[in-house]
């Protein structure tokens, strides 16, 4: 990660460009996949894996792309702009765990069932505890289970588990899984440190995705303000709406500064407390700002923004799902304070 600034920017640009392949100009594909069985398209997921995105954070000598968090958040930001439903972030989390255990990064969607309660960012690994909010589980080829054992946080692979599925506002789903270790394959003795880091990286990647979500919903809102006319003029000429738009832009600008700063800190080799602090800061900001921007986008569109058929509503519903994924703003505010040394 010691490349020059220019080299780094070029690498990020390449990632952004490649993302264009799965981010088309309209949201037809996104709409068609809503509320379907898998909630995403396996072929598109495979294409993303083939581009090396699943293993983007896996070191090159472990079969990955060995890229930095700066590239990862640039990628998820691009995906967020397109509301891409393929579960890259949970898939990449699993790839990182598998790589840490010495296994080849997968090509298909492998989901890790780490969460035991709502609004958590730790994997207790309680052997018998139900695993909740497992994202897009019906489309997963394999399930990884962290399990607390004497050796540490062991990692298992289980092929099938009973599912209890709940649909989400964005058209995807989450599942509750009950661990069944009978016949499960034991992959590693202790992935505790890798798990912690992977969860932080997933939280930051989610912040990046939310940045894309708010950028795009804001861009659509600006277009609407420029073209929609009321009382004989474009509504974007009304000063109260202009100032509101500027306030939203400030939130987007701050979110970008926060997310990209966090990525840079991680890429520069942060200590665990530093990593936690900057990730929590970025995720807290992205969660709050994405809700503000997407719900304001609906308000600024007026009545049409409240219809399901108009695309701007897709963004608020995506933010409703992801703002709290990998920890709510509340959780991250507290973690930030707990991890931060006193301010200078």
């Amino acid at each position: 990660m010691s490349d020059s600034y220019a080299e780094r920017q070029e690498s990020i640009r390449l990632v952004r460009d490649s993302a264009a392949a799965v981010v088309p100009g309209d949201f037809r594909r996104i709409r068609d996949l809503r509320f379907t069985e898998a909630g995403f398209d396996a072929a598109t997921f495979a294409e993303m894996a083939a581009m090396g995105w699943l293993a983007l954070r896996v070191p090159e000598d472990a079969g990955g792309a060995g890229l930095g968090m700066a590239e990862y958040v640039a990628l998820t930001e691009a995906l967020g702009r397109g509301l891409v439903p393929e579960p890259l972030i949970p898939g990449a989390l699993s790839a990182t765990l598998l790589a840490a255990a010495g296994e080849t990064p997968p090509e298909e969607y492998v989901v890790t069932a780490w969460q035991e309660a709502a609004d958590r960012l730790v994997a207790p690994g309680t052997p018998a505890a139900a695993r909740v909010f497992v994202p897009m589980a019906r489309g997963a080829a394999r399930v990884l289970l962290p399990v607390r054992e004497a050796s540490g946080l062991a990692l298992y692979e289980a092929s099938a588990l009973p599912l209890d599925v709940q649909m989400m506002q964005d058209g995807g789903h989450v599942a509750t899984l009950r661990p069944a270790l009978t016949g499960a394959r034991r992959i590693a003795d202790d992935v505790a440190a890798a798990m912690d880091q992977a969860l932080d990286e997933a939280a930051l990647a989610t912040a990046g995705y939310l940045l894309g979500v708010m950028e795009q919903s804001f861009a659509m809102t600006l277009d609407y303000l420029r073209t929609r006319r009321q009382f004989g003029k474009a509504i974007g000429s009304f000063q109260a709406l202009q100032h509101r738009a500027v306030d939203l832009q400030l939130q987007i600008t701050l979110t970008r500064a926060s997310v990209e700063d966090a990525a840079a800190v991680l890429d520069a080799g942060a200590t665990v407390p530093q990593r936690r602090a900057v990730v929590s800061r970025a995720k807290a900001r992205a969660a709050e700002a994405s809700m503000l921007v997407t719900r304001s986008a609906v308000q600024l569109h007026g009545a049409i923004g409240y219809t399901d058929e108009y695309d701007v509503g897709l963004f608020v519903r995506k933010a409703m799902v992801l703002a709290n994924a990998f920890g709510s703003a509340q959780l991250h505010r507290r973690r930030f304070v707990a991890e931060m040394a006193e301010e200078d």
Partner: protein, 382 residues
């Protein structure tokens, strides 16, 4: 109890009488509905009110109403709200009835009012258009006189439950040469009239509450015009203020805040000091909203006319409702994104969040209300 007997009660006894009847007669499964109910859903409650003679508290007794003053109407509304009575398909009772009573011909009154009271006719209100929402006077639905018929061409949108209604009243442009607010007339027609197409619009809450209505050479007989031609805007505008007092009720915020507390309990955060601080702030805001609402209600009960208060009340009430539901989403953690209510709890933060959205858009958007208050109440220059 007859209307005369009701009149003889003092306010407290009247309230008690209403309360007892509402408790006994509101269907349990319709109370505190999460969404506005379709006609096929609210029909039992509509018909119960109809049978009791309580459907139209504000209409004169000659036309089947209760003929109550503002104070008693408010007592009824308060008791309905307290028991979570659902809103019925009330465009006929609330909007068309008062308008016909004021501007309709005697024949129109005798023909339409009884069928509203009986539930035979369910009305939809056709005002908004794709380019005439907040700027309603910009409407373009065209009505041209052809022999004894008005011929309508154009489109309406955001028509609440047009898919439930068998009749619709519309504002249509009958004089294109006139100034914006002039040249608009008020017309009535069955939704089954040839040339009318109704298309439901799914909203963000996945509910088909709104419809688009298309008019393609729709012929409406001349006697379906209410009042004078080109005066429709004036008639309609005088009634538009009505919705604002109802939407200024603290009930929605109170329900949301109660739900927030249950949510905090289910998340194990009910004793969290940060939650308690936030909850305390909302409780204070809710209490002040209630004070403002009751102040307006008391003025109405004294027979005073309200000026800017309903608009201020709507701003305060709807924006508080939104802020409470915004905060609920953060509190809900991973539950915030659930499409359906949370398993095992009668809680649905996402649903309440989405339902809070249109309250600042419809019935006078927050932006328009602020413009109007700045000019009218604060006398700031244009």
């Amino acid at each position: 109890m007859t209307l005369d007997e009701l009149d003889a009660l003092d306010d407290a006894a009247f309230r008690l009488h209403v309360r007892e009847w509402v408790e006994a007669n509101t269907p349990e499964d319709l109370r505190f509905p999460r969404r506005r109910l379709h006609w096929h859903e609210n029909r039992p409650w509509y018909l119960a009110l109809s049978r009791q003679g309580w459907l139209a508290p504000a209409w004169p007794r000659d036309y089947g109403g209760m003929g109550l003053g503002a104070a008693r109407q408010l007592i009824m509304i308060e008791e309905f709200e307290r028991h979570g009575c659902p809103r019925v398909s009330d465009m006929g009772v609330l909007m068309l009835g008062p308008l016909l009573l004021k501007h309709g011909s005697e024949e129109q009154k005798r023909r339409f009012l009884p069928r509203i009271l009986s539930g035979e006719d369910i009305w939809a209100q056709g005002y908004s258009e794709p380019d005439a929402g907040s700027d309603l006077a910009a409407l373009r639905l065209e009505a041209v006189l052809d022999g004894d018929d008005w011929v309508l061409n154009g489109q309406k949108t955001w028509i609440t439950f047009a898919n439930d209604a068998n009749w619709i009243f519309v504002l249509a442009r009958t004089d294109k040469a006139a100034k914006k607010q002039e040249g608009i007339s008020f017309l009535l027609m069955p939704t089954a009239t040839p040339g009318i197409t109704i298309r439901p619009i799914l909203n963000l809450d996945q509910h088909d509450e709104f419809c688009e209505v298309f008019f393609d050479n729709v012929r409406v007989p001349k006697d379906m015009l209410v009042g004078e031609v080109n005066k429709g805007w004036t008639y309609a505008k005088a009634l538009l203020g009505f919705e604002r007092i109802a939407i200024g009720s603290p009930r929605l915020s109170a329900n949301a805040l109660a739900a927030m507390k249950r949510l905090a309990e289910s998340m194990g955060r009910a004793d969290d000091p940060a939650f308690l601080e936030m909850h305390a702030r909302f409780r204070l805001e809710l209490a002040d909203l209630k004070a403002l609402y009751e102040r307006c209600a008391a003025a109405l009960k004294r027979g005073e006319t309200l000026g800017a208060e309903p608009s201020m009340l709507k701003l305060v009430a709807t924006e508080l409702f939104q802020r409470i539901t915004d905060a609920m989403l953060e509190l809900a953690g991973d539950h915030a994104g659930l499409l359906d209510p949370m398993p095992g709890a009668a809680l649905h933060p996402a649903g309440q969040f989405l339902i809070a959205r249109p309250s600042t858009i419809f019935g006078g958007s927050s932006e328009i209300l602020r413009n109007v208050l700045a000019r009218g109440l604060l006398e700031l220059p244009a």
